[in-house]
């Protein structure tokens, strides 16, 4: 399910950037067209606020317009755009009072002394596809993602939301591969635990029918 940027796309984008750097303003339109959806979606998923996402999109487009000449190609252009987007998004988040995050540790699986699972696990995984685009499901999922601590949230959004590769995420966030993997794993564990009660209840309602 990975949408890792392929080589041709990367080269085509970097050719556009070079054209824009050389003064071709039309190339900028195409850059903006390619990136505005990604910028908006990333910022919206991080802030869950349409006005903030709009502000961030505009700010990043402006930064790209003014600063593209400073892009040196040390990392992929797309990584640079993601990084600028995250910085602008963090500025928005910092300016707001935050609800305390739920502790991740409480939501990790519980084991006995020999390392065996102690919880009773209900398998609710069948029949969830029909729930996918229901409003209620969307709200439950968004709420759970919002409760993730920021470090885990950003990795989850980039990896499993944007579908970027582990390597790409490590480049964007300037983290090691093991650090990306460990944050992703914790985020997924957290979400499974948070979402399970909702899907278990849905399953038991179905069975009663």
């Amino acid at each position: 399910m990975s949408f890792t940027q392929n080589k041709e796309t990367k080269e085509a984008e970097e050719a556009l950037v070079r054209e824009f750097q050389a003064g071709n303003l039309e190339a900028y339109d195409q850059i903006a067209e390619i990136y505005q959806k990604k910028i908006y979606a990333l910022s919206f998923n991080m802030t869950r606020n349409p006005m903030d996402a709009q502000d961030v999109t505009q700010e990043v487009l402006l930064t790209l317009f003014r600063k593209a000449h400073t892009f040196q190609g040390k990392s992929a252009f797309s990584s640079w755009v993601y990084r600028i987007t995250l910085n602008a998004t963090y500025m928005k988040l910092r300016s707001k009072k935050k609800e305390p995050n739920v502790s991740l540790e409480d939501l990790l699986p519980a084991y006995n002394a020999s390392g065996y699972q102690q919880e009773k696990i209900q398998d609710w995984s069948e029949n969830t596809e029909s729930l996918l685009f229901a409003n209620e499901t969307r709200e439950v999922i968004q709420k759970a993602v919002d409760q993730l601590p920021e470090k885990e949230k950003v990795v989850f959004i980039l990896r499993d939301g944007e579908g970027l590769s582990t390597e790409k995420v490590s480049e964007i966030l300037e983290l090691t591969i093991p650090a990306v993997k460990s944050r992703l794993h914790r985020a997924r564990l957290f979400l499974r635990k948070k979402l399970s009660p909702y899907f278990e209840e849905y399953n038991s309602r179905r069975e009663k029918k």
């Binding site: 390392g115 398998d123 499993d160 993997k181």
Partner: protein
């Protein structure tokens, strides 16, 4: 045989295909004898998939796209 903790610690790597064949086989051996871990794996896959899909649904509203277009053309006018 590996225990549940070792198994669940490796679940993301297993799901993403990042494990070597031997470790993958060890996990699968554990799954055969451990229904709770199978249930965990299935629900882990489902919640990851559902949450990822939900995030991917986000699209930039048309009205915002219009505003961005206008903003961009203003910037270009300033520059030229």
């Amino acid at each position: 045989m590996i225990c549940c903790k070792e198994c669940l610690d490796l679940l993301s790597d297993y799901m993403d295909g990042d494990l070597d064949p031997q470790t993958s086989a060890d996990l699968e051996e554990h799954f055969q004898d451990c229904p709770p871990c199978i249930a965990f794996l299935n629900t882990f896959k489902s919640s990851t998939h559902l949450a990822g899909e939900t995030l991917r649904e986000v699209d930039i509203p048309e009205v915002v796209q219009g505003k961005m277009k206008e903003f961009i053309s203003q910037q270009k006018k300033k520059k030229s």
